[in-house]
C-alpha cells in the first residue's frame, strides 16, 4: 500500500505500525519524536497499536532547541 511519510510517497507493507515505521525510517531519538498521522497526534504508548492504512500521511516532528551559546 502507499502512504506518505514527511511529504514523500512510499510503498509499504500492509499492517505496518507506527512503531515499525519509526524503526524503518531510522528516526533519531524516537522516544522524543512527535508523530502525527493525518493531522492527529499519535501518543507514544499508541505507536505499537496504530496500524497505518492506505493513503495515510505521517509526519515526524523533532525537538529543535538551538545551535550554540
Amino acid at each position: 500500500m502507499k502512504i506518505t511519510v514527511a511529504g514523500v510517497s512510499k510503498e509499504v507493507a500492509e499492517g505496518l505500525t507506527v512503531a515499525q515505521l519509526v524503526i524503518d525510517e531510522n528516526v533519531e531519538m524516537p522516544q522524543y519524536v512527535t508523530v502525527t498521522v493525518n493531522d492527529d497526534f499519535v501518543e507514544h504508548d499508541s505507536f505499537e497499536g496504530t496500524v497505518l492504512k492506505e493513503g495515510d500521511s505521517v509526519e515526524f516532528l523533532y525537538f529543535m532547541g538551538g545551535g550554540a551559546v
Partner: protein, 270 residues
C-alpha cells in the same frame, strides 16, 4: 503623529507597499516587540525589526558576548566581546534607527519575572537555545494571551511556528514536555551554520511584522521546517485539536509556570 521628512524617506520602501502604507508604518512605529535571546536567532530578528521601525523593542539575555558568538550573532561586533549582549544589541539597533526605543533586560527569564516582562508587549520572539526557556515562554504566552514566534535551529536545520491565542496549537500541544537534560543535542555539542540564524530569525521578524500589520497568513497551525542541506522548506500542518493540551487545552493541568532544569550549557541566546 505626522512623519518627518526623514521618516518618509527612511520607510519609503515600506510606505509604497499597499499592505503597509503610511498607516502600516505607523502601526510598526507604535508596536512593541520583545525578543528573548540576543543570539543567533535574536540578532537578525532584532536588526530587521529595528530597521523596520518597530517603535519599542525589548531584548532579554543574561549573557555577555563571547568570541565564539560572532560566527552567527551579527548584532555584536568584535569590540563587544565581554559586554552584556543586551547592551551590544541595543547599541546596534539604536545606531541603525534612532526611531527605535530599546529596552534591555540583562537577566535570565524565569517563572518569577516572565509574566511581568511580557505584559507590555504586543508580540514575543522566542530566540532561545534551550527547552526550559522555550516551554516557559510558551506557557507564559498562553497564560497571558500573548502571540509569539517559536523557532529552533541546529546544525543545518531549523523550525518555526507561530502561536496566536485561539488560532491553533501552542508549542506544548506539539511537544508535550521538555526532553531530559542533555538528551537532545543543543548548544555547543551540535554546532550550527551561522546563516541558519539569519534564515530562521528573519522569518521570525517577518511573522512579527505581518502580525503587527494584520496582513497575510501567519504560521499558526503549521510547523515550518527548513533543511539547508537539501535546501527544502516544508510547511507541516499541525493537528488542530488542542482540547487536551496541558496548558492551552480545555482543562489545563499546568496553571503555574515551571522552571525546568537547564541544560549544561545554559544561557538564553543561541
Amino acid at each position: 503623529m505626522a512623519f518627518t521628512n526623514e521618516q518618509i524617506e527612511r520607510y519609503s520602501r515600506h510606505i509604497i507597499l499597499k499592505e503597509v502604507g503610511a498607516k502600516g508604518q505607523k502601526k510598526l512605529l507604535n508596536a512593541k516587540v520583545l525578543i528573548i535571546g540576543a543570539g543567533g536567532l535574536g540578532a537578525p530578528t532584532a536588526m530587521y525589526l529595528a530597521a523596520a521601525g518597530v517603535g519599542t523593542i525589548g531584548i532579554a539575555d543574561a549573557d555577555e558576548v563571547d568570541l565564539s558568538n560572532l560566527q552567527r550573532q551579527i548584532i555584536h561586533q568584535t569590540a563587544d566581546v565581554g559586554k552584556p549582549k543586551v547592551l551590544s544589541a541595543k547599541e546596534t539597533m539604536e545606531a541603525m534607527n534612532p526611531d527605535v526605543k530599546v529596552i534591555p533586560y540583562h537577566e535570565f527569564i524565569t517563572s518569577e519575572n516572565i509574566l511581568d516582562i511580557i505584559k507590555d508587549y504586543d508580540f514575543i520572539i522566542d530566540g532561545t537555545d534551550n527547552f526550559p526557556a522555550k516551554f516557559l515562554i510558551n506557557d507564559a504566552c498562553v497564560m497571558a494571551g500573548k502571540p509569539f514566534s517559536h523557532a529552533g535551529i541546529i546544525r543545518f536545520q531549523g523550525q518555526l511556528m507561530t502561536y496566536v491565542p485561539g488560532q491553533g496549537p501552542c508549542y506544548r500541544c506539539v511537544f508535550k514536555e521538555p526532553p531530559p537534560k542533555d538528551a537532545v543535542p543543543t548548544c555547543k555539542q551540535a554546532g550550527v551554520i551561522g546563516a541558519m540564524g539569519g534564515v530562521i530569525g528573519s522569518l521570525q521578524a517577518m511573522e512579527a511584522v505581518k502580525y503587527i500589520l494584520g496582513v497575510g497568513d501567519l504560521l499558526t497551525g503549521y510547523l515550518l521546517t527548513y533543511d539547508a542541506l537539501k535546501m527544502q522548506f516544508r510547511k507541516v500542518k499541525l493537528p488542530s485539536d488542542t482540547h487536551g493540551c496541558a496548558v492551552c487545552g480545555d482543562h489545563p493541568t499546568i496553571t503555574k509556570l515551571i522552571d525546568y532544569e537547564q541544560a549544561e550549557c545554559d544561557g538564553v541566546g543561541l
